[in-house]
Amino acid sequence: MVLAGPNGSGKSSLLRVLAGLTPPEAGKLTWNGADITEDRGEHHRRLHFVGHSDALKPVLSVGEMVGFWAGMHGQTVDIHAILGKFGLEKAVKLPCRYLSAGQKRRLALLRLISSPAPLWLLDEPLTSLDTEATEQLLAAIAAHRAEGGSIVLSTHAPVELPGAVRLSLADFRPARLVIEA
């Protein structure tokens, strides 16, 4: 599913609600009929969220970063193989502070394939990616969909994903909080 719409239309907010970071103002979020707030751990096990920031530590190396996030998901991974998928295998020992913006973005997106989760929530994943990296990401997305995974991604730029549901948020009026307490 592709969330489209201009800045401020609520794409990020919607993704954060789907992830369970922000509680919905009204209504509730369910997965196969079960309220996600009943078992947050279960909801977290089935999702990957890549937000605006890359969640990288400047002093940790690229390899350590991938190993850490995979490990936090309980996975031991072949770091070289994973890095190879986004063309970062040569940077394995490099501290993250030396990476360019695009490389950081790629490293952040590597969290997606370093441990399995059926639901990917991607907030503007294409920002600062070059053509090659965009293709690598689209390939990863296609592979994930082929395995039966679901993806919700937001973008302000047009992106072609064959067979994807496209939801434009441009026409929704932003709801305003009447009382700030």
Binding site: L21, R40, G41, R45, L56, K57, V59
Partner: protein, 221 residues
């Protein structure tokens, strides 16, 4: 390796690479204690009388130093967002981060304290109680501090605010920590005070993760 230990390991590695959190805390601890003889005079009797109090008060202040950054960098670089969505409950991650924080601040403080006792002519009988009370008390400082650090995430003037929030909560630790040492020196035995400290620690381990995790979640909303 379990995710819990992995997080502890990461925080230790970060502390090590970013350089000298522990060294700075210990440096502050020693330097501030050394100021006291200049302030009150070098008479051994006077210093001996107030040694336990000085060491403990200074330890509280030193523990505060690095608290502000406990969650700050994770918050700023987006790691916290990802951590909040991990299968490992945020509450457990808070505990892991507190453990790492204690290892780089509380533990070095505990190990340095006897040396400072020496400088202040602390009665020989007080050393075991000093080490024991610091060993039990400093983890409480890290835990209570974590609540303050989580609450002040993204606040204006976070650091000063953090001290204002956390220092009043530290008072019981200070009271029982000092009382343990003085009771031991007075010949009454430090045991009851240490047990009270330990009870406080157990309570903190049980409650802090929930309060701090709730604070972190609302900071991420």
């Amino acid at each position: 390796m379990s995710p819990f230990l992995r997080l502890v390991g990461r925080d230790l590695r970060l502390a090590l690479r970013q350089g000298g959190d522990a060294a700075m805390v210990v440096g502050f601890f020693v330097l501030t204690v050394v100021l006291f003889p200049f302030g009150v005079g070098p008479e051994p009797e006077l210093l001996q009388r107030i040694a336990a109090g000085i060491v403990w008060v200074t330890a509280l202040l030193a523990a505060l130093l690095s608290l502000e950054r406990l969650f700050q960098s994770d918050y700023e670089d987006g790691s916290l967002e990802v951590m909040a969505l991990l299968p490992l409950p945020l509450e457990a991650q808070v505990l892991a981060k507190c453990l790492a924080h204690w290892l780089v601040t509380g533990l070095p403080l505990t190990l340095t304290a006897p040396l400072l006792g020496l400088l202040l002519h602390l009665d020989t009988a007080g050393y075991p109680a000093l080490i024991a009370s610091m060993a039990i008390g400093t983890p409480i400082l890290s835990l209570l501090g974590a609540v303050g650090a989580a609450l002040t995430l993204g606040a204006r003037k976070g650091g000063v605010l953090l001290s204002l929030l956390v220092l009043p909560l530290y008072i019981p630790v200070l009271i029982f920590g000092v009382a343990a040492i003085e009771a031991e020196i007075g010949g009454f035995g430090a045991r009851p005070h240490l047990l009270l400290l330990a009870a406080f620690l157990v309570l903190a381990v049980g409650m802090v993760p929930f309060a701090a995790a709730a604070a972190l979640r609302q900071a991420l909303e």
